[in-house]
Amino acid sequence: MNTFNQATRDGRDAGAPAVVDDGDLARRWQRATDEPAWLKAVLITTALIFVGLFLVLPLSVVLYGAFERGLAAWFEAVRDPDALSAIRLTLLIVAIVVPLNTVFGVAAAWAIAKFEFPGKPVLISLIDMPFAISPVVVGLIFVILFGSQGWLGPWLAAHDLRIIFAAPGIVIVIAFGTLPFIARELIPLMQQQGKEEEEASLTLGAGGLKTFWYVTLPNIKWGLIYGVILCNARAMGEFGAVAVVSGRIRGETNTVPLHIEVLYNEYMFTAAFAVSSLLTGLALVTIAIKSIIEWQDERQKRRAAA
């Protein structure tokens, strides 16, 4: 009580003297639940400067660098055989990693959200783990495991199997790094939705798969899509871990981010930015899709509420 009085008195002291005797309830109300216009303007400006310095300018640098020498130079850089092979490798890896992580994400979310079992918080923490591990350490782990001086190295060499310095190694480190994305998107969503709808469907005689397909999937659709595009973007852009296990063979084990580094080191700055702009473009498309999804989602919710 005492503190509250204190607070009230502080509040009066801070109030503008011009309106103290006014007594106009509406104005006082507005003063207490809203900020003055000048403060709003200051806050918005500060936020926009921050966004400009950290988000807009880096983006502009990439786009400016990419198109500085015109469209022809851009096309030439992107159509270079090494660039194409890096793009192909990256797409191949994404085509393997994203579906795997999607199945994993849905399975993990189903098990965690629909059932009770001991050790659930530990499992959730473990799923989060790859997110906090430095990409460099991820790469190191697999070199120590699969390198020819590593534990499985001699066995792999004897059977002529290649993991690191080849596509499988890159797939594994990227799958590791992006493992949590879809699961973490779906778990809270499915937990929040509960299991009543599925139970109703099952009680009415539908099978498990049918229930999943017709009841669960529509409910988690947007979250799933969002998780997939985020996972996809991260998988395409992974650098630190891939740099350790790729071996950087030109036209063969260079992913797009590594190829960008190669170009940068060959003083081909326009080309480096041109190829970067591909990934940047993808990032922008990702963000656009995500915004559309959110917008759709809001509209659906509003329609459902109406």
């Binding site: 070199v143 390198g147 020819s148 590593g150 950087r248 063979i249 030109r250 940068y264 060959e266």
Partner: protein, 355 residues
């Protein structure tokens, strides 16, 4: 619904089957025809190399492919991997299946023997000139007009001079830089180790950035305009002047520097397994031909062939060159003493950062 589904499925699977069969037949035909065409055998080599050789090997691989096609009826494709010399050696030890390695210094190839027994200990005697088909040296690259008036190694310790060099721990070129400095110090102070240590320490006090490779350091100096002088391979320095900004930079050749010998070697364990020994050895031997030597000279490496060197002598100023064997007793010794953990370079870092 239930009635219509089975026929649809059935027809679908029939469609799939026919596509599959058709595809298989087509594939088989193509396979046969491509076999028929493949009279010239295809061979692949993997050359694991260090940073500044990118442009040279791109040109040389073409030259070699033409040369090999004539004599052996084989179509050689050479795959390239480039990076810091130490980290490239690490990749080979860890199992990247390099047929040949073309690295910045002999120690990184020695490590292939010491750590993984991939080639014999005497690898360096298998090819002429210590297995180094081209050489280089370490020079100083300064900005246009030499505004800080840097004339030689002694100017690097001045307080108003910022020096750019990569990290000797990860970059081969940086190790040559370090040894060139140390060799100059020994000469200057009549072999006094303590004074030499102090000299090199003062140079490294002027270093604001340690990139992990030679190319990163050049980028820092040229693109980001950081520093007053870049310690660089002669070939990198000329390349920067010629291609990155003609007129923006000048090369200062010190009176004395180190003879840098980037060696090449066949990785025996890998070529045995892959059956590529003949072409791999041919690939390295052809580096000593006059055509390849001229190509090296065009990429600003000093050719070992005297005749070719004479042709390009204008490119390469003469200076007093000392070798690593004369001054440091070879690479193994230099590596252990200067660059391994707890070595002289670590002591210098400690000394600089001890308040």
């Amino acid at each position: 619904m239930n009635l219509t589904t089975p026929p649809t499925l059935w027809s679908l699977s029939r469609l799939t089957a026919s596509i599959l069969i058709g595809g298989a037949v087509l594939g088989a035909t193509l396979g046969v025809s491509s076999q028929a065409q493949a009279q010239t055998e295809r061979v692949e080599l993997l050359n694991v190399s260090y940073d500044p050789t990118r442009e040279f090997y791109r040109a040389y691989n073409q030259l070699f492919a033409e040369h090999w096609r004539e004599g052996h009826d084989q179509e050689v494709t050479v795959r390239q991997s480039h990076g810091g010399s130490g980290s490239q050696g690490r990749s080979v030890i860890d199992g990247i299946d390099a047929d040949v390695v073309t690295l910045a210094l002999a120690y990184d190839i020695d490590a292939l023997h010491d750590r993984a027994d991939l080639l014999p200990e005497d690898w360096q005697t298998r090819l002429p000139h210590n297995s180094a088909p081209y050489t280089s040296t370490i020079v100083l690259l300064v900005r246009e007009g030499n505004p800080k008036n840097i004339q030689g190694w002694e100017d690097l310790v001045r307080e108003d001079v910022e020096v750019i060099t990569p990290n000797p721990k990860t970059s081969g070129g940086a190790r040559w830089n370090f040894l060139a400095l140390w060799g100059y110090g020994l000469e200057q102070f009549d072999g006094d180790e303590e004074q030499t240590f102090d000299f090199v320490r003062r140079v490294f006090e002027n270093v604001p950035v340690l990139d992990s490779g030679a190319r990163g350091a050049t980028n820092t100096f040229v693109q980001r305009r950081l520093g007053d002088v870049l310690l660089a391979w002669e070939n990198e320095a000329i390349l920067s002047v010629e291609e990155l900004g003609r007129g923006d930079f000048e090369i200062v050749v010190p009176a004395q520097s180190i003879l840098a010998e980037p060696p090449v070697a066949v990785v025996d364990a890998n070529v045995e397994r892959k059956g590529t020994r003949e072409v791999a050895e041919g690939y390295l031997e052809y580096l000593y031909s006059s055509e390849a030597q001229a190509l090296a000279a065009q990429h600003y490496y000093r050719p070992v062939d005297e005749a070719v060197l004479a042709e390009y002598i204008d490119e390469f100023p003469s200076l007093d060159l000392f070798t690593i064997d004369e001054v440091f007793g070879g690479w193994r010794e230099a590596q252990t003493r200067f660059f391994n953990d707890g070595g002289v370079f670590d002591e210098i870092l400690e000394a600089i950062n001890t308040p």
